[in-house]
């Protein structure tokens, strides 16, 4: 129990430290808000143009809302999936990895703690995207089953973080200290870029790509969130390949698959990361300090 409290207090200390550092760059905050607005506006204006022709059934009839949810999933997954590798690299190169390992912290606590910089930078973008979309571009939302919505967002966060930890493990497991990290590249730059359905429904993709999208947690999270949150969304019409063969409520199947992915990816991520550390201890690549 005491060990859990030490981990928890440390995560909070990381959060405080990252907040102090983040807010110490005042100009950064202004440019950050402008950046979110410009980025969101770009997608929203495109969605206004294409929205008239977009057939997004059964996800309601508001394409801007569709894009707001896509952007939100993008921000969360971009952080959770893409940043663990970068953060592990950061603490390796600045030498603090050794110090965290020589402390009562678990192997993953520093990674979670150091992720707060990304969380501070990226998660509020979700709220701003909702705000800008609703105020300026006509997005509308409903909040059916708020507990389910919250659960889906949490599971999306956990499962993408799990993939992020698999990616981070390659830093030690494959001794990839510089250059392109393959797990992140395959998931984020290939599969997600093509098949995550941030800006279009999965159903417009060729069937083979729909199958590829089935390995992504985003697919199930967005499917459920759009059915639940966009006015006119239908919770019952199957869209995804699995929903056409597993005859249960699509939202239920989304939840079950998301839960399974969260458990598998997170476990695999932690296991591979610990394996990577152990391998690095053996071959002498754990610390930068020589």
């Amino acid at each position: 129990m005491r060990n859990f409290i030490v981990q928890l207090r440390s995560v909070i200390a990381f959060a405080k430290r990252e907040y102090v550092i983040w807010t110490s760059y005042k100009v950064n905050i202004v440019t950050w808000i402008l950046d979110v607005f410009i980025n969101s506006a770009l997608f929203f204006m495109l969605s206004l143009l294409m929205g008239k022709h977009a057939n997004i059934a059964p996800y309601g009839n508001n394409y801007v809302s569709f894009v707001v949810l896509g952007l939100s999933a993008y921000y969360i997954s971009y952080t959770n999936l893409g940043d663990p590798y970068d953060r592990v690299a950061r603490i390796y190169w600045n030498g603090t990895m050794d110090l965290y390992l020589l402390s009562p912290l678990s192997l993953v606590t520093p990674v979670i703690g150091i992720m707060y910089r990304s969380v501070l930078d990226d998660y509020p973008r979700v709220l701003l995207a909702f705000l800008f979309g609703t105020l300026f571009f006509g997005a509308a939302f409903r909040f059916m089953q708020p507990f389910t919505i919250l659960l889906i967002v949490i599971l999306l966060g956990i499962s993408t973080f799990g993939i992020g930890m698999i990616s981070a493990s390659s830093f030690f497991l494959l001794n990839l200290k510089v250059g392109t990290e393959p797990v992140k590249f395959i998931f984020q730059d290939i599969i997600i870029a093509l098949a995550a359905g941030y800006f279009y429904p999965i159903s417009v993709l060729p069937y083979s790509l729909q199958l590829v999208s089935s390995v992504l947690p985003h697919t199930y999270a967005l499917d459920a969130l759009r059915r639940l949150m966009i006015p006119g969304g239908n919770p019952n019409i199957p869209v995804l390949p699995i929903q056409k063969i597993w005859h249960v409520s699509p939202i239920f199947s989304d939840l079950v698959i998301l839960l399974a992915m969260s458990v598998v990816f997170l476990f695999l991520g932690f296991y591979l990361y610990a394996l990577g550390i152990e391998r690095a201890r053996r071959n002498g690549t754990l610390t930068r300090w020589q």
């Binding site: 200390a13 102090v20 110090l99 390992l101 402390s103 009562p104 201890r281």
Partner: protein, 311 residues
């Protein structure tokens, strides 16, 4: 009580042997120095002791924990200062915020963290700059801050890997005093690596000489000197009448005494009481002494002899 006990530790990187069959025992409260030139294996040894690196063979215990099977317990109970000046120091936090962060990471509760941070800042002479950003203080102060992080918790074993490298003379002096103080105050066992002979000589209870991964010797500095030279030379400048000079020379014939140009020269067993004995005799004979000098091998000469590099 033995804090570190290593048996036959060997580590290779590719074809290179970084450590070859190292066995050593470090006692509680001891300042133990590993002396060697760059690439001797000093850092590899520290990494193995703090379990950030696994040996290829050999075993041992650190703080009573098994080196190979209880690495997490070892890591949670040792403190490390690596040679990079600002490791663990965030430049955009104040000096105090930096230490408070690490205090929580090391598991101190809020009240204890504040107390230890204040105490540490005072010990290090950083209290007056506690509200300044770490990026604004000197490299020496940042190094002290790094050491402050390491001593926030009173771990029984402190590993210092070339802690004074990159420091100016004044900072080196104050850091060495600080190292002696924390050993005295907390009975911390300190494992120090350095390639500065004066540092090793000033601080160490015992020294291990490493050369290309091989342990050439482990002993107190006095004993190491004894190994390369059994004698030291004593020179005494004094005005003595020919009779008294003859008396001294014949009395100390066993020390090969000679008197030339107003200087007595003796060759005596190293670290013996001979010096006292000789001076006592001079006083008894009412011989006025103007200068006394002795020369025993320096640690550097000892090192060069033991590593086979003495000219």
């Amino acid at each position: 009580m033995s804090i570190v006990n290593l048996n036959g530790i060997t580590k290779k990187f590719g074809g290179e042997t970084a450590l070859n069959n190292i066995s050593v025992s470090i006692n509680e409260g001891e300042i133990f120095t590993v002396l060697g030139k760059n690439g001797a294996g000093k850092t590899t040894l520290i990494k193995i002791i703090c379990t950030l690196l696994l040996p290829d063979s050999g075993n041992g215990t650190v703080l009573g924990y098994d080196l190979l099977k209880e690495s997490e317990k070892i890591r949670a109970n040792v403190s490390l200062v690596a040679p990079t000046v600002d490791v663990g120091v965030d430049p955009t936090l104040t000096v105090e915020e930096n230490l408070l962060f690490w205090a929580v990471v090391y598991g101190l509760d809020d009240a204890e963290a504040k107390r230890r941070v204040k105490e540490t800042l005072e010990i290090l002479g950083l209290y007056n700059v506690r509200n300044r950003w770490a990026m604004e203080i000197s490299a020496g102060m940042r190094q002290k801050l790094g050491i402050g992080r390491a001593i926030l918790v009173r771990h029984p074993l402190l590993l210092l890997d070339e802690p004074t490298v990159k420091l100016d003379v004044e900072s080196k002096f104050s850091l060495r005093k600080f190292i002696r103080d924390i050993r005295k105050e907390f009975r911390t066992t300190i494992l120090l690596t350095t390639h500065y002979f004066d540092e090793a000589e000033e601080l160490s209870d015992r020294v291990m000489i490493l050369e290309k991964g091989n342990m050439l010797a482990t002993d107190s500095i006095e004993n190491l000197r004894r190994r390369i030279s059994a004698t030291e030379k004593i020179e005494i400048r004094a005005k003595a009448s020919p009779e008294k000079a003859d008396k001294i020379i014949s009395h100390f014939a066993e020390f090969r005494a000679v008197y030339e140009n107003g200087v007595f020269r003796f060759t005596v067993p190293i670290f013996s009481d001979a010096m006292n004995e000789i001076l006592h005799k001079f006083v008894n004979e009412n011989i006025e002494i103007s200068e006394v000098a002795s020369s025993s091998p320096t640690l550097e000469e000892t090192f060069l002899t033991l590593t086979g590099r003495a000219k």
